[in-house]
Symmetry: C2
Subunit: 404 residues, 2 copies
């Protein structure tokens, strides 16, 4: 009766089963056995362990299909928590998520640009403790802190190389410094990867096999998941699509970043006569100006719609390229740049895929906005902790981020 036997070594099956319960909602032991290929007997014991750890609850009975009716299992959302921390120069964003990836607490403080690393890290440690206490969450049920940082990183050593405008943070071993202060496991990763795992853990991806989350903040990056596992490539530098070539105005070749990121949209706007005043561009904070344009587009302003449409068209071109290379079945958009204008981008991508995706006759691609658009990276940091601790996976052995 039981099929081929996919099975997995080392109690990894506990993680696999937890993953299934999380993603396939209320589900019976029998259905789990079918989905994994394990026997019902095995499933019984695996589930017993998960219930013993309080990770899973019996939440009711299902309908009978001719015999005894099944006991339905669900994840116990408040059994464990994880913290996500996105460090940026202007703000730090903290989130606390529960086992199903839902936000139970959120906080934003002044960012790492405002203090030297050593000072800032002590502040962070204090803020973490304060936040947990305020939420009434026992540290013992907190699995760790997932830090999401901009710019190049050394995931294995837990070191930030720092983007240009955060020079003081160059080569700061943020993981070891922080883990000495808060006694929690800590892990470091980049924004797009984190956002992708956040989408996955939040359950939005269903059983996608090949997924990409496009993360657009100041720049553009991609996090790629193969069967729910981060695809890291040779050195965790996958999904770099900023330099991809897209057809610019007049069919000239330009790079995606130079044509589609918020800065490009603003520059395009400023090149139009009277547009800066018309759209209320301030010229201080790029993301704010971009959001002004996005808001105008949402309200039906023709110029703004055109500007956003151009950017969305370029992103759509890039997504088609990725879809053809990765044979994607799921795409989501995350990051502050999509918080207002997101639907324009989703529409543009769907339209383009329908026309140009190579395998469009074989299967569709689900395109959606990430649930936590703006906080996607921080939520993803927390989800990375959940996944690493509760449902460890390996793939493309590039090491991935170390957890310490």
């Amino acid at each position: 009766m039981p099929s081929p036997r996919i099975s997995l070594a080392n109690g990894t099956s506990r993680g696999l089963v937890l993953d299934l319960i999380r993603s396939r909602g209320p589900i019976s032991r029998v259905e789990l056995a079918e989905a994994t290929g394990m026997t019902q007997a095995t499933m019984s014991t695996v589930v017993r362990q998960l219930i013993g750890d309080e990770l899973v609850l019996e939440t009711g009975r299902g309908e009978s299909t001719g015999g005894r009716n099944p006991v339905l299992l669900d994840v116990n959302p408040t059994a464990r928590f994880a913290i996500g921390l996105q460090v940026e120069s202007e703000f730090n964003t903290y989130v606390v998520v529960n086992l199903v990836g839902a936000i139970v607490g959120r906080m934003r403080t002044t960012g790492v640009g405002s203090a030297d690393p050593a000072t800032m890290i002590t502040i962070v440690a204090r803020e973490v403790d304060v936040m947990l206490e305020r939420l009434g969450i026992d540290k013992a049920r907190t699995l760790g802190i997932g830090i999401v940082a901009p710019g190049p990183l050394d995931l294995e050593r837990g070191v930030i190389f720092g983007p240009p405008h955060m020079a003081a943070w160059k080569n700061v071993p943020i993981r070891s410094m922080l883990s000495q202060l808060v006694e929690l496991p800590i892990l470091l990763d980049n924004d797009a990867t984190a956002a992708a795992i956040g989408d996955f853990w939040g359950g939005d991806l269903g059983s996608s096999i090949s997924h990409a989350t496009i993360y657009m903040g100041a720049g553009i990056g991609t996090g790629i998941l193969i069967d729910g596992t981060v695809f890291r490539g040779a050195s965790s530098n996958t999904g770099e699509l900023g330099e991809l070539i897209v057809p610019g105005p007049d069919g000239k070749s330009v790079t995606l970043e130079s044509a589609a990121d918020p800065r490009a949209v603003i520059a395009d706007a400023r090149s139009r006569p009277n547009a800066a005043e018309h759209l209320g561009l301030v010229g201080q904070d790029e993301m704010e100006d971009f959001k002004s344009i996005a808001r105008a587009a949402v309200h039906g302003d023709d110029l703004a719609i055109e500007l956003i449409g151009i950017s969305a068209g370029h992103i759509a071109t890039a997504v088609v390229a990725m879809a053809n290379l990765f044979d994607l079945d799921s795409v989501s958009l995350a990051g502050p740049a999509f918080s207002i204008a997101g639907p324009f981008y989703v529409r543009a991508i769907i339209d383009r895929l329908q026309r140009d995706f190579f395998a469009r006759e074989q299967h569709g691609i689900r395109v959606q906005l990430s649930t936590h658009i703006t906080d996607a990276a921080a939520v993803g940091g927390a989800a990375l902790i959940l996944q690493t601790v509760l449902a460890p996976r390996t793939m493309g052995l590039a090491g991935g981020p170390a957890l310490r």
Copy 2:
């Protein structure tokens, strides 16, 4: 002492160990234990089984490092064989490879364009038997036939959809038809994927984590390997890069296929005054005309060098895009189009990667011609059999080709 424990379920470890012995040449049990994370005791038993199956031989003793000197293990090359068959409209190419992926027999006959499917399949079955007999290879030691076919395929059902110029082969269930005639397991896959596995099994890739084989015949495709496993995406349609956008002449955007494949090179040549005669273009067989240009380039003809250089530049652009998305550490070129002009392409790719690859500071990318350039797909078909039977792997659960 033994490290984390990567271990793998279901006797998959036998395959893993065989893989390591194959790729890391003569190697001792202790080194194998280190490489896999298993204990030396476990390795002893695993190796005993492999030796029992005659897949592995003890081939000598290594140098002592202060104690007993290690027994070195090697794959027994002639223990098993696999057949690769590339079907094309003009020729069918058969190869027989041994356990280390080396060619031990090769044959080329008139292609599938010359007869209706049912007739052709009986011919193929006969030719397979004749070939094995001529080589003195027992069918019992032959693991199967890997068929590589052009155009869209249904890997799971083993059906050819057929390219436009092979209309009679549309929807032919080649796997089931052939497996009834020759009593061997049969598997169907596309050329680029097969070529990639061929490179891997031939040992050229070392321990690459993220590899792409660019296959250029009439069109351009890519086979992608993550840690030696085919990356199949949602529906085995990964690596489609023909429609990727590259900067054409004057910076205008064009698709890779329209700018770089053999047909494009010939068209470019014909657009130049007197070039057709100068280069000896016949206008019958595209690949032959392309090879004429390639030969002229190798002999130093300026125009030919320019034409090939343009094509190579476009391919290089595409490879950079792929390298940035997949964080590649290895690229190889296969297919008849690279058989003569290959070095021009390799050079162009290396140069471009050095300048534009995103993670160039973290690691280099090995770029090389496939060992069996022209026969890469056929050899790869055989290698797919070897991998499927001897070292099964799973990833990106898109099913992969079924073996029956």
